[in-house]
């Protein structure tokens, strides 16, 4: 039996480490896109300078060293261009659980299946390498594409945190989804 030497390669993308020199400038640009930041979480969006992004990378890598986060950049295989990131955080090792998150920064890079490939690689890592039992993910109710994306990967809706967000005067639910190792099929 061979080892799976391609566990971080999809057909068009691969998972890779951070490149401080190339990536910080691109990520700084993404932090100026409030629509993107609103999909990434509940915290107020805040534009970050290139230097601030680099500082955030340093903190992220410290957390990776402690194994409280697994973070990967997503790069196109053809030209190595950074298009996004995937990560597992909120890891509870004694219970084999974690929470996954994905971001594709540029709207033009969405809808090509890059995110699906990246998430399949991440799920393979989570279930076959880290031996997690349950993974969670969350999405805001005003993001039906995000919800469809997670449902297609096999996640099921577990919780509706009612009216947990206030956006432009509207109260929105946060939908929490979950995927068990036993439910995950590697197709």
């Amino acid at each position: 039996m061979d080892v799976n030497a391609r566990m971080f390669e999809g057909s068009q993308i691969r998972l890779a480490p951070i490149d401080y020199e190339k990536d910080a400038e691109i990520e700084s640009r993404w932090t100026h896109d409030l629509d993107f930041l609103r999909r990434m979480g509940a915290r107020p969006g805040r534009p970050l300078s290139v230097a601030q992004v680099k500082k955030a990378y340093e903190q992220l890598e410290k957390d990776m060293e402690k194994k409280s986060v697994y973070h990967f950049t997503i790069r196109l295989r053809e030209d190595d261009r950074l298009i996004g990131f995937v990560q597992i955080h909120w890891i509870e090792w004694s219970h084999s659980t974690g929470h996954v998150k994905i971001g594709i920064g540029d709207p033009q890079d969405r809808g090509h299946g890059y995110g699906t490939q990246a998430m399949q690689l991440l799920l393979n890592l989570a279930f076959n390498e880290l031996n997690f039992h349950h993974l969670s993910a969350s999405v805001v109710e005003d993001n039906p594409q995000g919800l469809r994306f997670l449902l297609k990967l096999g996640f099921v809706e577990e919780v509706r945190r009612r009216q947990a967000l206030l956006r432009q005067g509207r109260r929105l639910d946060i939908i929490h989804l979950g995927l068990l190792q036993s439910e995950w099929s590697q197709s």
Binding site: A42, R43, P44, E92, S94, H95, S96, T97, H133, H134, S136, E157, E158, V159, R160, R161, R162, Q163, A164, L165, L166, R171, H176, G178, L180
Partner: protein, 192 residues
Amino acid sequence: MNGQHLQGKLVRLCSPADAESMGKAWSRWSQDMDYYRSLDSDPPRFFSAKFIKDEEEKNQEKVDTGSFFFTVRTVQEDRLIGFTALWEISWPHGEAFVSIGIGEPEYRGRGYGTEAMQLTLEYAFEELNLWRVSLFVFESNLRGIRSYEKCGFVREGVIRQAMRRDGRRWDWYLMGVLRPEWQALQAAQPET
């Protein structure tokens, strides 16, 4: 309004006690697995009263608007019996998570915790002006679930098999209460 917002019939919400008393109480309570395993999914570790006292001294120096911590004391004997905390407060969205622990076993199952939670919700909705309060509870914590339901919390979903303990998997529930729901409950059960 009765002018005693942090006080009920059985308990009142207070500031942290001095670090030494907190260290002693916390260290003793944490050895009670009925308490600890209802409160935390982290595998138990025992810390000395001294270690907790030192940590508490550091905590009490910080002013942190991301969380609010209260000790729970009995009205009658002014005895320290537990704590409540609002944490992970999201100011833009008006949400907080709440935790509660009644460390002294003889005060469990007698309404002390429920009243402490009600006072904490009153503080969250009327002082902090939050919109919703959330909590996680383990499916094994039936006493907690009953108490939270009395306070107006609704089960919003099940995080399946989120915890492994004693050779099996346990679900977590996420519960939440919205300000209008809490207000309706207050109107239906006027404080006497």
